[in-house]
Symmetry: C2
Subunit: 399 residues, 2 copies
């Protein structure tokens, strides 16, 4: 009997040791926190290759990255890789917003692993990212930002969720897959004067883009039709009909890469920050462009931000002031000269109205505003179609 007890006790100890070993492999397993980024070139320093950017003359003050907070809306094929890149770069804080669960159907994109199927994307992401870099602060929200209550909470976290609580975040990144969520982010950022970047991948998986929006300074998402973004159908809509959008880890990885590169250039002040960068994978074509805001934008906060930007620019001492004669981005609807590569047919484009920017070859719009009536004049101007974008939005919400 005493022997049995002894044997059982040994077995308990053995199992406890093994269990703790397994758990440490999984949860701790990582590395200890690091107080101060060091340039020391040793195998144990996770920041040596980043701090080398200073010695290489690329970045003046790399450590500054620790002072920034970035919100990522959408933690799918682009958002999860975006979060991982920023985590590995040592960003100060990440705020993640998503309400989806990990599915095996997501395994054709980077980041999530099969054993995470069924977990919420934000929780699964936080767990992995904390292990990769415990120096980053995380705040995750498992909800849909487009519902009224969550939209208000989202707004308050953008305004107060900075590295120092009560301060705004430094940047919002849109990595969502549907029109409604993009419009919600646009509305929030226009109201708050919050700089953000948008990203998108087409539903045929072979094109994508990123876009920087500085309220008042560059075109917002409502100023002009979104460019190159795929058909305005989210995956849920498609699923109901038994079809789904295609996706590739390559295209999504490239889009996440150019997005985070733009974020690093913007926050750490090096290179040229792109206002718009497209990616056409079929031809390996990467168009860039920039768009001024639309003075007749439907979003009144966008118009307000434009006024404030003009005042601020005018108040600047010298040649920094904004040129008096602004280049107009809005064109009559018969002034095309746009080569189509994506979802909108030439026919549709000809039959549409509303603001269409002049686009470089290869860039197209993701949707157009249909003409109201047969009897509308062909010279429809923005003022005439002022309500159309909203109509369209309402229609899309009901799709």
């Amino acid at each position: 009997m005493a022997e049995t007890v002894e044997r059982l006790r040994q077995r308990v100890e053995e199992l406890e040791r093994e269990l703790s070993r397994e758990r440490s492999r999984q949860v701790v397993g990582g590395r200890t926190r690091i107080e101060k980024m060091s340039s020391e070139v040793v195998d144990s320093n996770p920041y040596s290759r980043l701090m080398a950017l200073k010695r290489m003359g690329i970045v003046g003050d790399y450590e500054k990255i620790r002072t920034y907070a970035v919100a990522i809306v959408g933690v799918g094929g682009v958002g999860s890789v975006t979060a991982e890149m920023l985590t590995r770069c040592g960003i100060g804080k990440l705020l993640l917003f998503d309400y989806d669960k990990v599915e095996l159907a997501n395994m054709n994109r980077l980041f999530f692993q099969p054993h995470q199927a069924g977990l919420s994307k934000v929780e699964a992401a936080e767990h992995t990212l904390r292990n990769i870099n415990p120096d980053v602060a995380f705040e995750v929200h498992n909800y849909n930002i487009t519902t009224v209550e969550h939209f208000e909470h989202f707004m308050s976290r953008i305004s107060n969720g900075g590295l120092e609580d009560g301060k705004p975040v430094d940047l919002v990144l849109s990595c969502v897959d549907n029109f409604e969520a993009r419009m919600a982010i646009n509305t929030a950022c226009n109201e708050l004067g919050q700089t953000w970047m948008e990203s998108g991948v087409s539903e045929n998986a072979v094109s994508g883009h990123i876009q920087l929006m500085i309220p008042g300074e560059s075109a917002c998402f409502a100023c002009a039709p979104p460019l190159v973004v795929a058909a305005n159908i989210d995956e849920k809509t498609l699923k109901r009909e038994g079809v789904c959008a295609a996706s590739l880890p390559t295209t999504m990885g490239v889009v996440a890469g150019i997005l985070v590169q733009n974020v690093l250039k913007f926050l750490l002040n090096f290179g040229t920050v792109s206002f718009y960068l497209g990616y056409n994978a079929m031809q390996d074509f990467f168009p860039t462009m920039s768009m001024k805001p639309n003075p007749q934008c439907d979003d009144r906060n966008c118009r307000k931000q434009q006024e404030e930007y003009k005042k601020k620019a005018a108040a600047l001492p010298t040649q920094e002031a904004v040129p008096q004669e602004e280049e107009e981005i809005v064109h009559e609807d018969n002034e095309w000269g746009i080569e189509l590569v994506s979802e909108v047919s030439e026919e549709e484009l000809k039959n549409s109205s509303g603001p269409i920017p002049t686009l470089p070859e290869g860039i197209t719009v993701a949707y157009t505003v249909p003409k109201k009536q047969e009897d509308s004049v062909s010279e429809v101007t923005v003022e005439d179609s002022g309500e159309s974008l909203e109509d369209l939005m309402a229609k899309m919400k009901n799709m």
Copy 2:
């Protein structure tokens, strides 16, 4: 006493259950193997978004990906992400070659995690990749391909390591960080007539490129100086001096993304396969170009492949034949017109000799062949400098 035994027995059972739960979370956790790729749109199908490429009209026969074997040399910042993308795309087989260990200093790039520090890169990668997609076959080699014995084994695995044993692999991808390994892959592929793709990221972390080499048809790595690749110093050399190359997960993610995109286009026959695609992250500039092989290439197997390609092309029925008058890639050393963006200064370029291809704006060479003597004529032709590339290689090996 009986009570103690009972309590201990319960504790043992409890611990065994917990331990098995922990272990299943870690190791199994993944998904079961799938015999046949399906297009069915259900959350549990990891291939639905890839098979959708057929319905979208992008790829004719996506399932064909399962019939291909790809070898990846170098499983670092670019190679590991390359392997992960191909694994998630459902490639038939991956052969991984590397002799390095995972270090915390690698954590600023995607893929490896801190708990893997100390493991060999190929073993750590295989473990992660098998969990992500158990349908892929893996073969890993933890050795340096540039040593004589391993080079021979590497050659034999390229020739015999295909999906069906005894058949060659379909593609070799170079994701290495040094000149010697690139030359070894080039030598092997020229001898075997093996198509391969090269990739590289500059040591200042803000530029990179990919290049497709079809022996006999396009320029090999010895035909002309490698383009945009960084200074020819590998990380080990730099470490000794207490400095290291900079690297970014963004640049490496973009390079891996455009590399695997090119692989998919090449294997699955869609879009335009790029012979050369560069990435300048500072300006968001992506130059493309192609280069014909150098008839005076130092590698005799390259010259042999060129002859065979010409014969094969001439034997083709109609207009597929190679044009008689080939565009010469080699130019006199005073015919520059090249804008420099990278490691080689204009001064160095002016003082160098050897074959320099005509390059689009923004592309430069990673090194030049120095002029032999002060008394050499300024009109040095390729024939004159025939040995210089080899001299340079020898010099670099001793660096």
